[in-house]
């Protein structure tokens, strides 16, 4: 890549200023990106008197975890005063099955669409691919009616179904584009040896799929955990996922606005996906770019 060090004219002072300029821009950007996280964290650890004093960027005088306690299990969301905990569990109960089912279906369809080019495979893939990009507003009304018809309106099962269906497009895209890069000869050889579809999938493809499985799981988990529109449209009260509950908490009007509790709640709601990002950021980035760059 273009290395400043190798630049013929850039020696001595000029080079030093160049490096200084680059570094200051990069560090300034880093501060801007980190500022909201810092402010939210600092606010969540302050008491209300300190917050009202208005020193937004100051460190808390002492670490006060009362707001975290309140956000987790005491804060009032609507009429229930149990904090975010029940909704956090809802989100877990909703995400885990939806992630697993959509990943399995996506892996199988991706394999079939990439290694067995039957008639119409490309058309099927194109139709599924467009499903990644539709605005979900276009399916909300029929979905609400269908969930009601199936008897799973306002339930976690309903959300699992919805997230599974609208996740399949993405997982199929991930696996199909990954399997395309694996040589067809591998499958052909196994077929000649008499191995069937599932045997090839299980014995040959899956052991090679570890990276893309991680990408798909992380992508699906982040998407489903962070989703708001579907949760807000199809659930109310006790069945809401954590994003919807957080928004209700922030907008619940109480006599005294507890900013520290709001901020702690925001961090609690963000923690699972942030944790995944910190542990497996590399795979997260691959998921983001998988659909964007020609494979």
């Amino acid at each position: 890549m273009a290395r400043a060090e190798r630049l013929p004219g850039a020696t001595g002072k000029r080079r030093l200023f160049g490096r200084l300029f680059i570094w200051s821009l990069l560090l300034f950007a880093a501060l801007v990106y980190l500022a909201p996280l810092y402010v939210v964290l600092a606010t969540s650890l302050k008491d209300l008197a300190e917050i009202r004093a208005g020193a937004l960027l100051d460190l808390p005088h002492e670490l006060n975890f009362a707001a975290w306690q309140a956000a987790w299990s005491e804060a009032c969301i609507g009429v229930r005063c149990e904090g975010l905990k029940p909704y956090f569990l809802n989100s877990l109960l909703m995400s885990i099955p939806a992630v697993i089912i959509s990943t399995v279906l996506g892996a199988l369809s991706g394999f079939a669409l990439s290694k067995f080019r039957f008639k119409g495979a490309n058309a099927i893939f194109s139709l599924m691919l467009f499903g990644c990009f539709i605005p979900l507003q276009i399916v909300i009304l029929p979905m609400a009616q269908t969930l009601g018809f199936l008897g799973i309106a306002n339930s976690i099962s309903g959300l699992i179904l919805v997230h599974t269906i609208y996740g399949i497009s993405f997982t199929t895209l991930f696996f199909r584009n990954f399997y395309v890069t694996i040589p067809d000869d591998l499958v052909k050889a196994a077929t000649i040896d008499g191995a069937g579809f599932f045997r090839i999938f299980w014995r040959i493809m899956l052991p090679l799929s570890q990276p893309i499985v991680v990408v798909a799981i992380i992508w699906q988990f982040t998407q489903i955990w962070n989703e708001f529109l579907l949760g807000a449209s199809f659930t109310s009260g006790g069945a809401q996922p954590v994003t919807v509950a957080l928004n209700n908490l922030i907008n619940t009007t109480t006599s005294v606005k507890q900013y520290n509790v709001d901020m702690a709640a925001a961090l609690i709601a963000a923690s699972p996906t942030l944790l995944v990002y910190i542990i497996a950021g590399r795979y997260f980035v691959r998921g983001l770019t998988a659909g964007a760059v020609k494979g």
Binding site: A10, P36, I134, Q137, I138, A266, A269
Partner: protein
């Protein structure tokens, strides 16, 4: 791909089944998409031509909902906001993302750490982002009051409660969230440019600036296009950020089409109108995505 057993025996049912197994495996996923995506698009499209209010009705009444939609100031504001929001969101994210990628490409020792910092907002939900920025931009306790506290008494930064500026607050938070993603796109593309061309340019005495402007950035044209398309479709779908940050306010000054759709469908018992606005959103997305996906898929097949 057929694998019938050798010999002259007629293929058994099981063998015939195994030749269509790939189709059978795709079938459930495909049928789900066919029904829940395409079936539902037709369903919503149908509702948009009816007089549905609180409950869907199936009595057609032509384009009346669309005429009502286009006559509404609220829709007008939402669509103009989409143009403002989309324009700034896309261009600022691309400029900042591209700049950060080029700077990070200068053999920076802590590149990994900086990359992690620039990209973490992408792992957080729009609701959390909105909550955080709403707090920081709140005039009485946020940035405005902090800077006033430092001694600059007349400092003003109250866009979030200003009906002309509220949409720009949404732009700020959205760019904060997405620019790191654009950075990642550009950085990975910069890294895959052919090293020989760059070496040759150095030997010819080209400066770093010239190499970036003349060789590297032009070769990234497909990445600019990808970034544009992805950001554009995210802009059209934007909903949660407005809900958490401004609630669409003051009044309805910062609503986007997605918020309009939700408001009409779930709060005002105007299901037909909500459906018509959803169709408009789909058409806008399709106008951008269909040509893009078509060229991507074609390119892949020929390449």
């Amino acid at each position: 791909m057929s694998h019938r057993p050798a010999g002259n025996k007629r293929p058994s049912v099981l063998d015939r089944l195994s030749t269509v197994l790939p189709q059978l495996v795709v079938a459930p996923s495909f049928l789900l998409i066919l029904f829940f995506v395409y079936g539902f698009i037709i369903w919503t499209g149908y509702i948009s031509f009816t007089n549905s209010r609180m409950l869907p009705s199936y009595e057609l009444e032509g384009f009346r909902q669309y005429l009502r939609l286009f006559a509404m100031d609220r829709w007008d504001v939402a669509f103009n906001n989409l143009l403002i929001f989309g324009g700034f969101y896309i261009s600022l994210s691309i400029v900042i993302g591209c700049l950060l990628a080029v700077l990070l490409d200068q053999r920076i020792r802590v590149e990994g750490t900086l990359r992690t910092i620039y990209l973490y907002p992408m792992a957080v939900s729009f609701i959390v982002t909105g909550t955080a920025w709403k707090w920081m931009l709140n005039p009485s306790l946020g940035i405005e009051s902090y800077i006033r506290g430092l001694g600059w008494e007349s400092f003003r930064f109250d866009w979030i409660v200003d009906k002309d500026m509220a949409i720009y607050v949404v732009v700020i938070a959205a760019v904060w969230q997405a620019s790191g993603f654009v950075m990642a796109l550009f950085l990975s593309a910069l890294r895959s440019v052919d090293q020989e061309i760059i070496k040759a340019a150095y030997l010819d005495g080209a400066s770093t600036t010239r190499i970036y402007l003349g060789i590297l950035l032009p070769s990234l044209r497909p990445v600019f296009l990808s970034a544009f398309v992805i950001l554009a479709h995210l802009a059209i779908k934007s909903f949660d950020l407005v809900v958490a940050l401004t609630g669409g306010g003051p009044g309805y000054a910062s609503t986007l089409p997605a918020n309009f759709m939700y408001e009409m469908t779930f709060r005002r018992n105007q299901i037909g109108l909500g459906a018509a606005s959803a169709v408009m959103m789909l058409l806008t997305v399709a106008a951008i995505m269909v040509p893009y996906l078509y060229s991507e898929l074609r390119g892949k097949r020929h390449g």
